[in-house]
Assembly symmetry: C2
Homo-oligomer: 303 residues x 2
């Protein structure tokens, strides 16, 4: 099962000519989730060759313009391209009002259904669940209600060892039972332990998206042991006062959270336009948490 | 006096990876007018090195998303960059409602004043007038109220011929009077005809922006003899039915208007994403009106 994150925008509030504002695509076995949708996300989707028709779920962390402005253009293009599939939007309820107001003077109806799933700022809640993954919210601390998202694969079935199927002449019913952890009972009544028949599955993978937020240790419990943590790092530690004032994190903060949460890898992004490159931010984070990478528009991370 | 048009977006409703949606910058002697503001116009401004602080006037032709969506991000960046100068927006009145709704959940106040100048769909009106230029509207025919814009330099003063100042020992008052067309009266009462003292000024230049519109001959009277006509050419003539259905023009239509209006040069743009290049559109227009060029993002035209 593939689990890939593509960065579409890595700048903070003001885009630059090389960094668009926040947006990421999570692709889990060809199920696509767009997290945040900064201005011109649709242009980035084209640039990085992600098909519009694959996107059925958009998650918006909060209502600052750099995290949602692109949704109007994307929704408009969906309509112009003849979309029929419903679009699911997970967001704070005010976004519906902003979307409704934008489409008031539109060409006509969008032509597809929009289903809103409103977020709750107070607790971590499951907002999505299918046969292979779940998504729950991560309450963040920002100037306005803001939510991160934890995407977790469901535990996979056991793998049957090589040659076991032919050796015991297993039928499909036997295979399903064994993959679920049951022992195998031969026709003569002999019991073969499940552990002799199977190998453990690849452990389920997880991705946490935490932007925008003040340094906030209360998220650690939710994101514990995550495979990939995206945590905003708008500033360097030398701008800590500005980070606190604007409810943002430093690269040092992001790395500290990654370390305390025992994350396997950290991706930092949402860089202030004051930094020409991410070099110093990356250096600061790596000093605390070595396995850190810096977001760039177009970067793809396989989990 | 310089008079330059920079194309920031040349696609129609759906942007592509090489063509953003409608926006053009008109620079007349360092006075900048942004006409239309499609999604991510702020990114194009950076790419083509136009300073945000120079933009004090934004003209929006109509309320289809590909002509205004970028205004939110641009206005947000103005605020984040500490803008203090008032911003003048010329638009149909509903845009104010859309802007107000977007900034309802903003960081705080924008920090600069926004002055709206509402357009009237029914007649061509002067909406701007300073010491060097005027702007008037061009009522267009589209699905919703839509206005083009005609920017015209004011007539310039006469140029005094070389050596005349020293020959007649002219004072500043004399020079001003002669530049305004008066004859010069020497101390002995002799009258020197103005035509002997001056040369005609460079004739005032003009630019007309006509997008989006159905083929509409009623604009010809307004744009007669314009130096540069930008006219949308969403489709080829082979898609004329689609053009009529969506209230757009073909390249043939644009060229016919240019010819009938006796324009000096035609710029076509707002191309449908169905055309990979503008080659066929340009060919179609040139067959009717030879001095035609096709818009590309980043193209600069000196009038």
């Amino acid at each position: 099962m593939s689990f890939k994150v593509t960065v579409l925008g890595s700048s903070s509030a003001i885009p630059t000519s090389s960094r668009f504002t926040s947006a990421q695509i999570v692709n889990i076995s060809e199920r696509f989730f767009l997290i945040d949708c900064g201005e011109a996300t649709q242009i980035q989707l084209r640039k990085f060759k992600i098909k519009f028709s694959k996107i059925n779920h958009i998650l918006i962390s909060h209502l600052h313009p750099d995290h949602y402005l692109g949704i109007f253009g994307l929704m408009s293009s969906f309509a112009l391209m003849g979309r029929k599939n419903p679009l699911h939007i997970y967001c704070f309820k005010e976004l519906k009002e902003l979307i409704d107001s934008q489409f008031k003077y539109y060409y006509g109806s969008l032509g597809y259904r929009v289903e809103y799933h409103f977020l709750n700022q107070d607790v971590s809640e499951e907002i999505y669940n299918d046969n292979i993954l779940t998504i729950k919210t991560i309450p963040l601390k920002h100037r306005i209600p803001t939510s991160g998202f934890l995407i977790t694969e469901k535990p996979k079935e056991l793998n049957i060892k090589k040659d076991i199927i032919s050796y015991y002449n297993l039928c499909i019913k036997d295979i399903i039972q064994i993959k679920r952890g049951f022992d195998f009972i031969k026709e003569n009544g002999e019991i073969i332990k499940n552990s002799e028949l199977t190998e453990p599955p690849i452990s389920p993978k997880s991705f946490a998206y935490c932007s925008d937020t003040l340094y906030n240790e209360s998220i650690i419990e939710i994101i514990k042991n995550v495979d990939l943590l995206y945590h905003e790092a708008t500033f360097l530690l030398s701008e800590k006062d500005r980070a606190i004032e604007t409810y943002h994190s430093t690269a040092f903060d992001a790395a500290t959270i990654a370390k305390k949460a025992n994350a396997k890898k950290l991706l930092i992004g949402h860089f202030s336009a004051r930094y020409r490159t991410s070099d110093e931010l990356l250096k600061e984070a790596c000093a605390v948490f070595e396995n850190t990478i810096a977001a760039e528009d177009g970067l793809v991370i396989e989990i």
